[in-house]
Symmetry: C2
Subunit: 229 residues, 2 copies
DNA sequence: CGGGTACTTGACAATGGTCAAGTGTGGTGG
DNA sequence: CCACCACACTTGACCATTGTCAAGTACCCG
């Protein structure tokens, strides 16, 4: 719809690299198109490289033996995923599937490593990227294990609003089912919590648009105060 | 007690580096000693470098508003921690404290980055290290959100046995309280589950030593089969 | 022997998962 | 343009797992 043409130049991963290296990367990268719902890779699969999202959206997730799904992350344009086996060897530690039609760039391990040895800046960028993901994991473990669902949801909403420069209203870029998976709960539970929060006057839900009516009370909820019951 | 003198030469992080760089790192690193229970850094603290464990043991953890503790990782000799802010900027994403008297090496960010630009191998090692941690986080999220406590415990025991080359008996290198924190549960719950597993003939508990009496059934339990109730 | 820490056990409440049965709602084809 | 279908979502009822509070026991170190 807009200029989301998608280029490695938009990815944080490749910021600050000289034109020379950018074109080198482009020349070895492979463009892929996946339609909504398609599996991109499976946990345990062999990895020969990693991916960059050019357009669309991808979920990284784990499945329990009984089939429950925990979404680990949702990535959009500019994000990369699947780096772990590139640097640590072995297989993919989780599954990836397209949640929307999407366009990806596949970057083969071999070429990347070769470029990295020549261009320390690229290695530093990759380190920044993987470290940022470590930080995100830390936050996620905190949310998933130390907070209850309403707290997790409040934290998520505030975070989403922050990502949109503090907008008082956010629009989910995923289904509520996926949000439930991301928050580590069931669709039904999320539905109930959204209703309770609406009734308490904290938010206002209109489809996928959620107005934050009482950000201050949401903050209090997210940080554990029992403003809500 | 043994030759755990501790040197950067034992750390995976610094494998394969030339003597020249090893001594360069040693010359900028600072040795620290912390006694059991001491805080090493707090979440949100400013970071000027990261740490390598020479001897002893350290826990990385998060605290809930109500004071519950989720242990994210326990590190022993050869492990490094606190890298995130070095590469991604910002503050420490979690807390660190000594669970045993320990000896650490503090490696200042500035020097490390300087060395990394000259020695791509060092950057590759750091990437391997952070990627391995990403993989560990993935497993942890899976355990914490998709499995119940008995399954988590079974998976932990099997993993620990594997780390000791498949020994049929393992000895915890931490208190059961810390293990509970690592498994994301309460001390009381862990205690009960251990007993149920003993009564079911899966394990045999003698203090911190746990014999795996029926590894096959433990495997089945860890992968979700309801062998146990 | 004393004290603190680690651990156990019991009783109880509640968060949230599951099953089941709806109610929208958007998109497609007739 | 309407009807239908699939998918997203809601709501209700129920109950298992697990956290919490409380009290007590075992164990280790000095």
């Amino acid at each position: 719809m807009n200029a989301d043409k998608g280029s490695i130049r938009d990815a944080p991963l490749f910021q600050g690299l000289s034109e020379h290296y950018l074109t080198a990367i482009e020349s070895v990268a492979v463009r892929q198109v996946h339609e909504k719902g398609r599996t991109i890779f499976l946990e345990g699969g062999e990895a020969g490289g990693f991916y960059l999202v050019l357009s669309g959206q991808v979920k990284i997730f784990k499945l329990s033996p009984e089939g429950r799904e925990q979404i680990i992350h949702i990535y959009g344009p500019g994000n990369s995923f699947g780096e772990v086996p590139v640097f640590a060897g072995g297989r993919f530690p989780a599954n990836a599937a397209a949640t929307q039609d999407c366009e990806l760039l596949y970057i083969p391990r071999r070429e990347l490593v070769r470029l990295m040895k020549r261009e320390p800046e690229l290695a530093m960028n990759m380190l920044a990227e993987t470290s940022a993901k470590l930080r995100a994991f830390t936050v996620q473990i905190e949310n998933l294990t130390l907070r209850e669902i309403p707290q997790r949801l409040a934290a998520y909403l505030l975070d989403a609003s922050e990502r949109e420069n503090g907008a008082g209203e956010i629009t989910l870029d995923m289904t509520k089912g996926h949000l439930a998976g991301l928050l580590g709960t069931a669709q039904e539970t999320l539905s109930r919590v959204l209703r309770r929060m609406s009734e308490a006057g904290l938010i206002e839900v209109r489809g996928r648009t959620i107005g934050l009516k009482a950000p201050v009370r949401l903050e209090a909820l997210a940080s554990g105060d029992e403003v809500f019951r």
